[in-house]
Amino acid sequence: MLRIIRYSFADLIRSRWLYFYTGFYLVLTGALFFISADLSKVIVSLMNAILFIVPLVALLFGVMVQYNTREFTELLLAQPIPRRSIFLGQYLGIATALAISFLLGAGIPFVLSGIFLSGEIWNFSILLLSGVLLSYVFSALGYLLALINDNRIRGFGLAILVWLLLAVVYDGLFLLGLAWFSDYPLENVAIGVTVFNPIDLARILILLKLDVSALMGYTGAVFNKFLGTSLGMGLALIILVIWAVLPVSMIRYISLRKDF
């Protein structure tokens, strides 16, 4: 499987889209530093961008690479290697390439600004960790959607729908729900619902670490109040990891049963 990861990775790191992605983060983070010299403000601004962009790009990359390598996958399937190595290897190659691209793009301006000498290093690390985890979660979801749907337009459409639901519509629906049921105690429900949205989990994880209560929103405040900072962060992190593992086990399950 390591060989597949290596070659899938080698193929992707030469893709101009990935350079564009890294360049985008470099420019964005650089621009944020240009506007404000305050590290924690830059981290919060960057977080808002990451929570939108990382899931979208990872989903689209996951779908795109799966579709683009279909015929090549046939060649791999004819080799004496087990199926699970091929598909998990390809997925890990994509996710790792995306994660490294993000780390370089968002990380280099921080390193240049002297993050290692400041007290913000742990806040920054959590931001990077969240971005990396979201890259793994959403590229797995994208890869899985493409594996299930042979129709490419449907695969891309579903990926964008998943992104819209989790990154955009979810917040609106959540607020509507809170307004409608404001007479009831909703704290447990809020925690329960958050579990279903990895983007919200990543946001909570970063904000709990930053301890910016004004930006936490309802779910973040509930996490903070009922679970405390460390337990809240621990729980958010564990569920995010589960979010990364579940689609991968689905990829494995489907790839063992699919015809090519």
Binding site: A10, D11, R14, E71, A78, P82
Partner: protein, 262 residues
């Protein structure tokens, strides 16, 4: 070597293979023929474990094929469509496939044979269709395996490359290998094949020597023999499927006779 026992395969409601029994034991070239959609590729892919039959068993070298796929080290397979990761270079791809098998490879000899030296450093996305097919052939034929499966090997090849491919196929046959080839080019079949398996709508309608086929339909050449086979008269499956007696294909409730296009 390869034994298929009563293989059934459907994709959704479309039945692609309907009870195929075949054995490939003797060295030589078998041409698997049939119109588009007759189940040729599905048949070959099920031998490789890429398509999983709904029913039936496939044995390779006396053992049922397994999901780990170690038996595939004895098979070389040329897929029908040659598309590779666009950003990898030709030599990287060859090295990658070589790294999957700890078997000696004769890639250098084949690269020279097909004149690919000048494109070794090119990215695969920049190659023409014919050159990609040559790379595909190098990847397939670089191992010394007892079984070689070629799905439309002539697609996109220029006449010079086609002659070189034929040389390699004949060389493999002379070495006592089992070759399974699908193609729509009847002259190639006539020139090379020792055995013809004719598939239509997922059933085998003929399995024997090309001469026998010509005699059976009383046609002097294979192209005409196949056309005659398809035009009616001689269309009787040699292995009628026992489990289903449904019409061959239904479209909007009407029974439609097999449409044959080459």
């Amino acid at each position: 070597m390869i034994h298929l026992h009563h293989i059934h395969k459907s994709f959704g409601r479309l039945q692609v293979l309907r009870g195929v029994d075949l054995a490939f034991d003797q060295p030589g070239i078998t041409a698997v023929l049939g119109p588009n959609g007759s189940g040729k590729s599905t048949l070959l892919k099920s031998i490789l474990g890429m398509v999983l039959p709904n029913e039936g068993e496939i044995h390779f070298d006396g053992k049922p094929i397994d999901k780990l796929g170690q038996y595939r080290k004895d098979i070389s397979y040329l897929p029908q469509i040659a598309r590779f990761p666009e950003n990898l270079r030709v030599h990287e791809l060859i090295r990658m496939i070589e790294s999957f098998r700890s078997q000696p490879s004769r890639s250098a000899e084949l690269i020279h044979h097909f004149g690919l030296e000048s494109v070794l450093d090119s990215q695969l996305g920049h190659l023409s269709g014919g050159t990609r097919q040559k790379v595909n052939l190098v990847l397939t034929l670089m191992y010394d395996t007892p079984v070689i499966i070629l799905d439309e090997p002539t697609a996109g090849l220029d006449p010079v490359a086609l002659v070189k491919l034929k040389e390699l196929i004949i060389q493999a046959k002379d070495e006592g290998k089992i070759l399974l080839i699908t193609t729509h080019i009847m002259s190639l079949v006539e020139e090379l094949a020792d055995r013809v398996v004719f598939l239509l709508e997922g059933r085998i309608y003929f399995d024997g020597k090309p001469e026998e086929l010509k005699q059976r339909v009383e046609e002097p050449n294979l192209e005409k023999a196949i056309a005659s086979l398809l035009s009616g008269g001689h269309l009787t499956p040699i292995q009628p499927a026992q489990k289903d007696s449904k019409p061959i294909r239904k479209m909007n409730g009407k029974v439609v006779q097999p449409q044959v296009k080459f």
